[in-house]
Symmetry: C2
Subunit: 151 residues, 2 copies
């Protein structure tokens, strides 16, 4: 039996790997509507020189454009890292139906806040392929630290 | 003597009025660097069909592009309405130097949270031309309600 959440998270992981290849913090996100991927994005804050260019933000913009709707209540977002507060609030404005994430982010993630900032109807599912998602980030930061030590 | 904050807030108000003319929730924002306006934006969530297209978000993207930097620590953002959580967190990622806002937003604004989500070094100044900023919003929602009652 195929685990749908894992299957889609693997697609988000592919996006995170593209970010990694571009030397960006490896986070990827996809949005699914009626079993179809309608948006794929990866973190591009360095390349676009824009702190708002998180994977989730770009995926929301792309999915809304695809559906020609400001609301994503019939959609699921898969992201390799727990959404930060900016992305969590953007997801709330979109009234997204479900958010599935991989690795946790206790410092910058939505769970850092006491209040739930997502829409009250949004379903949250966490820890899907958390090791794969987290390892990619650890590997990235390990490389960065090594480079820093060399210089 | 010219009140600099009021002078710049008037520019943000002009942006909010452009949003009003486009039938968007009237919120405007500008970003100032070395006494020069480097970004102007107004809410475009309906026109762009994008819940992330708040005035502040667009202003951050434009200012970072102008400065070719992901950080706005030498900049001040003027916005007619207290930033929402999404915009507040985006401002935090940008490490913006100062945030000046007009009307308060107790339901959706950053002050709704117990924790300060802005960068710890960011200076906050509020209630600048708050009546002008707030009246524009009240007028907009009054019109909307009247239209709803008619239909």
């Amino acid at each position: 039996m195929i685990n749908t959440d894992e299957m889609y998270m693997k697609k988000a992981l592919l996006e995170a790997k593209i970010a990694m290849d571009k030397d960006e913090v490896p986070v990827g996100a996809i949005i699914v509507h009626n079993n179809k991927i309608i948006a794929k994005a990866h973190n591009l804050t360095i390349h676009l020189c824009d702190p708002t260019a998180h994977a989730e933000m770009q995926a929301i913009t792309a999915a809304c454009n695809y559906l020609q709707s400001r609301y994503l209540d019939q959609c699921t977002l898969y992201t390799t890292l727990e959404p930060c507060i900016m992305c969590g609030s953007a997801l709330s404005w979109s009234k997204i139906g479900k958010v599935v994430y991989g690795a946790s982010d206790q410092k910058r993630g939505i769970s850092y806040l006491e209040k739930n900032i997502l829409h009250k109807k949004t379903i949250i599912k966490k820890n899907i392929l958390m090791y794969e998602c987290g390892n990619l980030l650890s590997e990235f930061f390990k490389k960065k630290r090594k480079l820093k030590q060399k210089n």
